[in-house]
């Protein structure tokens, strides 16, 4: 990932990309569907990606990567990474069919979803990954929907490796990317990608917002390897609710949650706590 790219200041995705591409190295082929990153790459005739990169139509990144990896293997190039780098919209909504198919077929692909929780490239519209109650331009009084649990959907496809990433924890990113790259099959990584213009916070606060997401338990760092669930990083220590910061500390930094009432915040806190009860069960089963 080269300097001079076209991302907004404070973009979470470019922090993630730097760590991911460093971990993967130059023998990496990328497929990028329509998303912020299509623009971040910069206009013809230059590109800020120093790896071979196929831009692709919105719904089709996993399918294009499937064809690419099969072609590379057929032509004798097996020691390379084929990576999809897609946004949440291009993964949980319009890209879901192609990803599901690729997962069922088990191609040797690393699929990474960088989740900024809305269609940011087109101006902050709600996606299937937008959290409940969040403001977007198409949910101006707050999202009535829920956030699709994409990592669980992928785990249900029985892929060999699923994990979550967060840009505030680069060591966790690198460990997981390296592990994923060493496994054959479809590996799915879901990355938290704070977006200053979309979530309405100052560009200097990206890492702080990302860290608070983990510390409040809103974003859980974990991996599912061969079907076995395991918490990673600081999330390991957050099963005890008293060790989790109140969700409000995370919410109040972001303008997209500014309209929340007291009872909205309580409800979101309850949702986080209930999710952790489920996580506790998964941790038990994983032992």
């Amino acid at each position: 990932m080269l300097k001079g790219h076209a991302a907004c200041p404070g973009c979470g995705a470019t922090i993630l990309l730097r760590h991911v591409l460093k971990a993967l190295g130059p023998r990496t082929y990328m497929v990028i569907p329509a998303s912020c990153s299509s623009v971040i790459a910069g206009p013809y005739p230059k590109s800020s990606f120093a790896v071979p990169l196929l831009h692709m139509a919105f719904a089709a990144s996993a399918a294009a990567a499937s064809g690419m990896v099969e072609a590379l293997e057929k032509m004798g190039r097996r020691d390379v990474n084929v990576v999809v780098w897609a946004g949440d919209g291009g993964t949980v909504d319009i890209g879901l069919q192609a990803l599901s198919g690729a997962a069922e077929r088990g191609h040797n692909i690393l699929y990474i979803c960088y989740d900024n929780e809305a269609y940011m490239n087109t101006g902050i519209q709600k996606s299937g990954s937008t959290p409940p109650k969040a403001w977007t331009t198409t949910t101006p009084t707050g999202n009535p929907g829920f956030k699709k649990d994409m990592p669980s959907i992928m785990a249900a496809h029985r892929v060999p490796y699923v994990a979550t990433l967060n840009p505030a924890y680069p060591n966790d990113i690198v460990k997981k990317v390296e592990k994923a790259a060493s496994i054959r099959g479809l590996k799915y990584l879901h990355a938290f990608s704070p977006c200053p213009p979309g979530w309405r916070f100052d560009a200097s606060l990206t890492v702080k917002v990302a860290r608070l997401a983990v510390e409040t338990g809103v974003w859980v760092l974990y991996e599912v390897e061969g079907g076995v669930f395991r918490l990673t990083g600081p999330s390991k220590h957050l099963l005890d609710p008293s060790r989790r910061k109140p969700v409000e500390e995370y919410l109040r930094l972001q303008g997209r949650f500014r309209h929340l009432t007291e009872s909205d915040i309580e409800e979101l806190q309850r949702m986080v706590d209930e999710n952790w009860e489920k996580i506790a069960q998964l941790v038990e089963e994983g032992k």
Binding site: P45, M75, A98
Partner: protein, 386 residues
């Protein structure tokens, strides 16, 4: 040089041609009446007769995306579809052309729903006419075989580098058995460019991006490159057709098939397998003293305006059979034929006939009837109902 004859359907002929072309990656999704192609290809792959990766995708949109992904890193590819499937993959078809990837596709032409139909019509085929795909239309199983191989020759030519499709009629060609001469597979292979010679291939040894954002002044220049490529494709297709003729004995150097067209005073303009009935009608009319003839368009894009214009100019009268449900204007083939005549400076009298819609059978009686209608003064468009 022939490897012998087999009795094959149009669909199986496509599969045999693809086997001879030795693609690296095939990806397809089933749709009637394309399915026998991919079933036969699956047999070839599973038996080891064809060393290719077969990706059984979960939709047509993904089928085209998969072959784009494969082609982008240098693989030779194939896919096939029809009708609803072609339209589901439609945006990605335009992507393939814009990305300058020499993908080859079979389109078994089928009418669109609603109402549901599985029978032949050319609407699906015509819908790609502006996309930058080189487009052939076969009229027999033999032509499906021959044109599929030529599609690779043209698509992969360094002056072209555009995807190429071959269309053929649902059931009338796709499922009808005919004797087909196959080429010796080595000779077929020698007609195609050697693999690995393509310049526009993504590689980690020399990283590049394919498909970045381009501002308007760059976009138009990139697209203009496609225009130049399509212009070259006419010449390349003719040369490929000639070379193919040297090996097979069947010459394809012309984009058109002409039957008794040289001295014709009224020409049928047709595409696809209805040509058989049209030939009968021409012979019948000739027997009655009418100087009828026909032109069958075999290379549809790039359209042979000069060649057709000359023939239309000489004849002065045309019955253009545009086999598509088309509303609000003249059909694709009609528009092209009229433009050809205009370019040749020819004023022609014409009747457009929408025949074979939804798979309606078109017989030589129908063709004779079209001529009688034309002679009685009917102009404009007529839908040939049954």
């Amino acid at each position: 040089m022939s490897a012998g004859r087999r009795v094959l359907t149009g669909n199986y002929a496509a599969a045999y041609a693809v086997r001879a072309a030795k693609p690296d990656v095939i990806s397809a999704y089933p749709i009637t009446p394309q399915t026998p192609i991919i079933e036969k290809l699956s047999e070839f792959v599973d038996s080891g007769e064809l060393d290719a990766r077969f990706i059984r995708v979960e939709s047509e949109h993904s089928a085209m995306a998969a072959v784009i992904g494969a082609s982008s890193v240098g693989a030779r590819t194939y896919t096939a579809t029809s009708s609803q499937g072609l339209f589901y993959m439609y945006e990605v078809c335009w992507w393939a052309a814009g990305a300058r990837l020499p993908i080859v596709m079979g389109v078994v032409t089928r009418a669109l729903g609603p109402p549901w139909s599985i029978w032949s019509e050319h609407s699906d085929f015509y819908a790609l006419r502006d996309s930058g795909w080189v487009m052939y239309f076969a009229s027999s199983a033999q032509e499906v075989y021959d044109l599929t191989l030529q599609a690779y020759m043209v698509a992969e030519n360094g002056d072209v580098l555009l995807p190429a499709m071959v269309g053929w009629d649902a059931f009338e060609v796709s499922h009808t058995y005919e004797p087909v001469e196959l080429l010796d597979e080595e000779e077929a292979g020698s007609l195609l460019p050697a693999k690995g010679g393509r310049v526009n291939v993504l590689s980690h040894e020399d990283p590049a991006s394919l498909g970045n954002l381009a501002y308007p002044e760059d976009y138009i220049r990139i697209r203009y490159g496609m225009r130049r490529a399509m212009e070259a494709a006419g010449r390349v297709a003719s040369e490929a057709g000639r070379r193919y003729g040297e090996i097979s004995g069947r010459d394809y150097s012309s984009p058109l098939e002409c039957y008794r067209c040289e001295d014709a005073e009224v020409l049928y303009v047709v595409m696809g397998s209805i040509v058989g009935e049209a030939i009968d009608a021409v012979d019948r009319l000739r027997g009655e003293g009418v100087k009828a003839g026909l032109v069958r368009v075999r290379l549809y894009r790039p359209f042979p305006y000069a060649e057709l214009g000359e023939l239309l100019g000489r004849a002065g009268n045309a019955i253009i059979v545009n086999r598509a449900s088309r509303f609000g204007g003249y059909g694709a083939l009609t528009g092209d034929a009229l433009a050809a005549a205009a370019e040749a400076g020819a004023r022609i009298d014409y009747l457009e006939v929408a025949a074979g819609i939804g798979g309606v059978d078109v017989t030589s009686d129908d063709f004779v009837g079209m001529y009688k209608m034309f002679r009685a003064g009917r102009r404009g468009t007529v839908w040939w109902m049954r």
